[in-house]
């Protein structure tokens, strides 16, 4: 039996969440209505709350989105006001997170929103550890 591929279990969970959200969300738009972040979307396209939610579902369904829906995915800061507002218990915060992974090209498609690449991200953490922790602590805590 071959070893499971890296990321396979995550992918399986991701797909089950995607299917759950696609089958339970009614695109009522309540999640968008209560979110504080649309105030920071520079160019809105006139979509209603329901149309924005439907646009996010489109991203989950086939990886395409545009206009306000895509901008909303971009500015989501996981505030979470959407979670209790959802009448169908969909967990729109999860919906937006999955949508962002897709929009960033997380599964190999061309990114729809800017992807921040920081080649020093993890090395910077290791470097700060060198400044803040002892050699023993780094060896015992970080490996």
């Amino acid at each position: 039996m071959s070893a499971p591929k890296v990321g396979e279990k995550f992918r399986s969970f991701f797909e089950s969440e995607r299917a759950r959200i696609l089958s339970s969300c009614t695109s009522c738009g309540k999640c968008y209505e209560v979110c504080p972040m649309p105030a920071y979307i520079e160019k809105k396209d006139g979509s209603t709350s329901g149309q924005v939610a439907a646009g996010v579902l489109g991203l989950l369904r086939d990886g395409t989105a545009q206009g306000t829906a895509l901008e909303w995915v971009k500015v989501c800061m996981r505030t979470g006001c959407c979670v209790p507002a959802c009448p169908e218990n969909v967990n729109p915060k999860m919906m937006l997170r999955l949508a962002k992974i897709i929009a960033l090209g997380g599964y190999g498609a061309a990114p729809l929103i800017p992807k921040k690449e920081d080649r020093d991200y993890f090395q910077r953490i290791r470097a700060f550890a060198e400044l803040e922790l002892s050699e023993d602590e780094i060896r015992e805590w970080m490996t």
């Binding site: 890296v6 279990k9 969970f13 800061m77 997380g106 020093d120």
Partner: protein
Amino acid sequence: MSTPITFWYGCNVVRHGDIIHTCIDVLRALGYEPSPAGGPDFCCGSPKDGNATALGGMSQRTAEKLDARGNERVVAWCPSCHSQSIDFMEGAYEPRYDMQYFVDLLYEDRARLKPLLVHPVPMRVLVHKHIGFNDRVPVNRMVPELLSLIPGLEVIDEPFAAPGYMCAHLATLPPAMTRMVRQTESVIREKNCDALVTMYHQCQRELVGLEAQGVTRVYNYMQLVARSMGLAYEDHYKALKKAGADAAAAIPAERLQKVGVQFFDRAMLPELLKKTPR
């Protein structure tokens, strides 16, 4: 007898060794035997949303490594790690350990924490809150209550909470970050506060610049807990922010050598020079 517990501090908090060391001291004082785990090898994967294979691989590896520590309970310092654990890791990997957030543990043990807080910290503070994460752990209520156990410390009653769940995210949206900082400064002035107190290291990193810029003193809540317990850890990160362009001179030579001067200049100094937008 001490209770074994894995203390999963996360990645980016290593900028604040004083906070990590204080948490460990507090856990020990509360009767736990902490096994600290953190850094890139224990990353929850959340910085890798743009690469789901890496995200999945890292989060699975970390769940397995935390499981291998063999403790029934893992207490997470970082709200991102905790969220990632609840949102994805529990469902995808079904680890054996129970996950708890650090503030939740402190709050649960507040009766044992209170007698440890013996030194007065005479200060009137504004607690920096976010709307997010509070739905998962009611930190916006718990942290002020914990701080009120410190003799001499006054926490002002202020409902303002920033969007998002931490400033490192909010900082990627400059208009939102600037607006939040202005609102925060306004409250500090109106309510005559001595300091701003953060809950998360991601907020401490973004807001400590306000102290370097002479606006207000900025502390993480655990730094005030440390002070009240009589723990003498120094906040090196704040000192480096205040040193600005001269930060390298404030670092012991042998430590700077390990990091590498070129790497420090290219990858660390820009962060230390970054101003908090206002």
